[in-house]
């Protein structure tokens, strides 16, 4: 069990309580303490409350989001008060060096997508030396009447359902890049991974091997080629 210190890290909007940067409260076991003479916002506290017991506990599950997530925002959209939860070692009283950074992922902003399909073309070309989009691991669906363009591509889910769904263990995670790797010799083309994928990001090649983004070993060609940043690779929350 950790102790916690919840600090106001920054204020992006306006708080008329007011909360100020540096204000904090601590949690030790079941006890909340606010420094003498200070106050804490009721609404921020009620929104933080459910996560505090979870943050107190050690979690060993590899892809669980709780250890990675340390910032919460005041529920008033005009306030923008950002709270950071630091874990404190009760023996030393010092904050624990933070475990893992959130890994970057491919982020898709369909509203910015021009529908040009350059991402498909470059993906097929760097992987298979053909411009034929059938061999691309990213696909753009277009609705020309509505003007909608939607890229479908792997987002490197933490708890990847495709890996779990594969009956022959053909899928694995590259722990260096975080990409999902396909063992083309093992893949039997059963489409179970595609059905499990929450982003409809898996298609199949002509010989029925799953096509999943491999992040180009880090130098991601579709992201580089996208003219409007509809595709990005980073760890900030992007708009879907």
């Amino acid at each position: 069990m950790y102790d916690l210190k919840i600090v106001v890290e920054k204020i992006e909007g306006f708080c008329d309580l007011p909360m100020e940067v540096g204000d904090y409260f601590t949690v030790s076991g079941g006890k909340i303490e606010i420094p003498e003479g200070k106050h804490m916002c009721l609404w921020a506290m009620q929104s933080l409350m459910p996560v505090l017991p979870a943050k107190q506990r050690e979690i060993n599950e590899e892809n669980d989001w709780i250890p990675h997530t340390k910032r919460f925002i005041c529920p008033d959209p005009n306030g923008g008060v950002v709270f950071r939860i630091d874990r404190i070692d009760p023996k030393t009283g010092k904050s624990v060096k933070e475990e893992v950074e959130i890994p970057p992922r491919i982020q898709v902003n369909a509203e910015a997508c021009t529908g040009c399909r350059a991402c498909e073309t470059v993906c097929a070309f760097v992987h298979k030396q053909t411009f034929n989009a059938e061999k691309s691991r990213i696909k753009v669906e277009k609705n020309e009447i509505k003007g909608e363009d939607t890229p479908f591509v792997c987002r490197q889910c933490g708890d990847a359902p495709c890996i779990k769904a594969c009956p022959v263990n053909a899928l694995s995670r590259d722990f260096e890049t975080n990409a999902i790797l396909v063992d083309k010799d093992k893949c039997i083309g059963c489409y179970k991974c595609a059905k499990a994928c929450p982003f409809d990001a898996i298609s199949f090649s002509e010989n029925d091997v799953a096509l999943i983004c491999d992040l180009c070993e880090g130098d991601i060609e579709c992201v580089k080629r996208c003219p409007t940043d509809a595709l990005k690779f980073d760890n900030k929350g992007g708009k879907e």
Binding site: E111, A112, C113, T114, G115, C116, R117, A118, T121, V122, F125, V126, Q129, T130, F131, N132, A133, E134, K135, E141, K142, E144, I145, K146, G147, D149, R225, P227, T228
Partner: protein, 632 residues
């Protein structure tokens, strides 16, 4: 694997119901590069001058280029070529979007349509195969509905479709071919040629491989060009506004086609400009296949009488055509006008000319209200604009007078109205006033498909770089839009750049206006991409060869120097005082023509290519043909 070229054409004879594949000779590909070049070469050889463009003897050639379908930014284009029913000379129109690349992935560099189907049909092409299917259920459907239904019917969201609308089916001479809803190959009546063959649509799906001979080298060159494009001074404006930037910029120069070219200044331009469209209606940027300059836009009107009108586009020609040219000051009316043309399958330039011509005649009292079916077509009367579009589409009432284009309309009306018909060789001119951009004026006058700016786009005349003007074109004046000296050489140069763009099937934004690739770079690209060797000199010569084949083609159809002209207004009436720096200007066409023919080594008196020039370009067959016909 195909490298740049598929080395294969598809020949479909609709009368005989035969579908054949034809190997393309490597020398043919080298000499004519692709798209427009392949098409005009075949048109010259296969379509003799005696034939009626609407008869079974006419043929349609659909060509893509070596860069189409590759990563080259904006190499998304495709040319449709036939003898034009609108002008009776070279018919040729080009569009972007996604059809071109799909044809390439289906395994063809060119598709040739001959004869006439016995019922309304569509052609379905997939991966080296083709079939002719009935399209009777699509009869009279607009272009949007046709595309939507076909997609549904074939049940594949990735098929690409070229379709005609009711205007073509009803026999309107300036009807076009539409892809990706609004991408239009609408000039010179190519839609009507398809209709005359009983073809409602061409549907293409391609999943075959297309690669580069030296993939790493090709990719490196593309990456470098992408960078150049992103760093280009015009990049930001082009992605924000695309061609619609021209409404305000041409208006500032005093040469925006306004109220049928009675002036070059539209006082309400700010309300119909690309900037106004962006601020109030733009939803997002849109791009053609693999293009890094998303210069197209998707817009939506969210309230008012056009609530729910949404579409990609418009481009400058449609936006100005249905605002300044017809005097309409409400951008929503202009957007509605463009949308009607897109759905009915009409060319926006010709349609807006026919309507603004009617308006000028009406305001001058040459046409009475009774003659125009009781309408009161004053400039700015948007309801009259919409009525006339409907009538043209249906060829009913006065619409029937306009439906063959402005030249025929003027001939039918008589009363000395021909001099007010804004066309060259039967093709209506664009939304800029040549008096303020004289190089463009020359380009429009000599364009091989009739009055059209996209054959030359002599962008250099905006540069105001006197030193470059002297160095590149022999006259410092050539760098200034209101001067005429040196423009013959400027136009020749840019005509060949346009041929290059239309053969590689890349966008003129990059190849011509932004001058992203030189002939040298084009050669290097094709050498990395294809199995053939090209030099810069060969490519430049091919571009010149193609220009000469086109000229020989129209010369064979009877075109001479006197047809390389401009409407009288541009030669005699100076632009009015409100046109700023352009005020007082007319086009000094004759000296520019002299210089142009000399630069081309064509006969100055007649505009006929000399035997010497044709021989230099290896066009012996054309020499023989023109000699047999006593032309040279």
């Amino acid at each position: 694997m195909n490298y740049g070229y598929c080395n294969q054409a598809l020949r479909i004879n609709l009368s005989k119901n035969s579908i054949e594949k034809e190997a393309l000779d490597p020398q043919f590909l080298k000499d004519y590069l692709g798209g427009r070049g392949l098409n005009v070469s075949r048109l010259y050889e296969e379509v003799p001058p005696e034939i009626d463009p609407l008869s079974e003897e006419n043929k349609m050639f659909i060509g893509v280029g070596p860069l189409t379908g590759t990563l080259f930014p904006g190499a998304a284009r495709v040319n449709f070529t036939a003898k034009s029913p609108q002008t009776n000379i070279l018919g040729d129109s080009n569009t972007g979007g996604f059809l071109g690349s799909e044809i390439k992935f289906a395994g063809f560099d060119q598709i040739i349509l001959e004869g006439k189907a016995d019922q309304l049909s569509y052609i379905y092409i997939k991966d080296n195969q083709a079939e002719i299917r009935s399209a009777e259920h699509l009869s009279q459907l607009d272009t949007f509905e046709t595309q939507r239904k076909l997609k549904e019917e074939i049940d594949d969201s990735r098929v690409q479709i070229a379709a005609i609308g009711p205007a073509a089916e009803n026999g309107v001479k300036f009807s076009g071919i539409f892809c990706n809803m609004v991408r239009a190959a609408a000039r010179t009546g190519m839609g009507l040629v398809l209709a005359s063959k009983n073809i409602k649509a061409i549907v293409v799906r391609g999943t075959t491989d297309l690669g580069a001979k030296e993939p790493d080298k090709f990719k490196k060159m593309i990456d470098k060009m992408d960078k150049e494009i992103k760093n280009h001074s015009e990049y930001e404006t082009r992605t924000r506004l695309g061609t619609t930037q021209l409404v305000s910029s041409l208006n500032e120069l005093g040469c925006l086609a306004t109220r049928h070219f009675q002036t070059g200044y539209f006082a309400e331009a700010d309300q119909v400009s690309g900037e106004y469209l962006e601020e109030n209606y733009k939803q997002k940027e849109k791009g053609c296949f693999a293009c890094t300059i998303p210069c197209s836009r998707f817009f939506e009107i969210k309230e008012g009488k056009y609530k729910g009108l949404k579409s990609e586009g418009p481009e400058f020609e449609g936006l100005a055509g249905f605002s300044s040219r017809v005097g309409v000051t409400d951008i929503e009316d202009a957007l509605h006008g463009v949308d009607l043309c897109n759905r009915y399958g009409l060319d926006v330039i010709t349609t807006s000319e026919c309507i603004s011509f009617t308006m000028e005649l009406y305001e001058k009292g040459i046409l009475s209200s009774e003659e125009v079916d009781g309408l009161k077509p004053n400039f700015g009367n948007s309801e009259a604009v919409f009525e006339l579009i409907e009538k043209i589409k249906n060829r009913e009432g006065f619409g029937d007078v306009l439906a063959d284009g402005v030249l025929t309309a003027a001939e039918k009306i008589g009363r000395d109205t021909k001099k007010l018909a804004m066309h060259v060789k039967g093709l209506e001119i664009f939304q800029a006033d040549p008096r303020g951009i004289k190089g463009y004026g020359l380009g429009v006058a000599v364009a091989t498909r009739g009055g059209d700016h996209l054959r030359s786009e002599p962008w250099f005349e905006f540069s105001e770089d006197a030193e470059a003007g002297k160095r590149r074109f022999g006259h410092p004046e050539s760098a200034f839009r209101l001067e005429y000296k040196g423009k013959g050489r400027v136009v020749k140069f840019y005509e060949e750049r346009c041929v290059l763009a239309d053969c590689l099937e890349a966008c003129k934004n990059t190849v011509v206006n932004m001058e992203i690739i030189s002939f040298q770079e084009a050669a290097e690209l094709l050498n990395a991409l294809t199995e053939y060797d090209f030099t810069a000199e060969e490519i430049q010569k091919s571009a010149e060869r193609i220009m000469n084949v086109e000229r020989a083609y129209i010369v064979r159809e009877g075109i001479r120097r006197e047809d390389d002209s401009l409407p009288e207004r541009f030669l005699k009436e100076p632009l009015p005082d409100e046109c700023g720096e352009s005020a007082g200007s007319v086009v000094e066409l004759e000296p520019m023509l002299d210089e142009y023919y000399k630069a081309r080594n064509w006969e100055v008196a007649t505009g006929i290519p000399t035997e010497e020039k044709l021989r230099e370009l290896g066009l012996e067959k054309i020499i023989v043909d023109l000699k047999e016909r006593n032309i040279i």
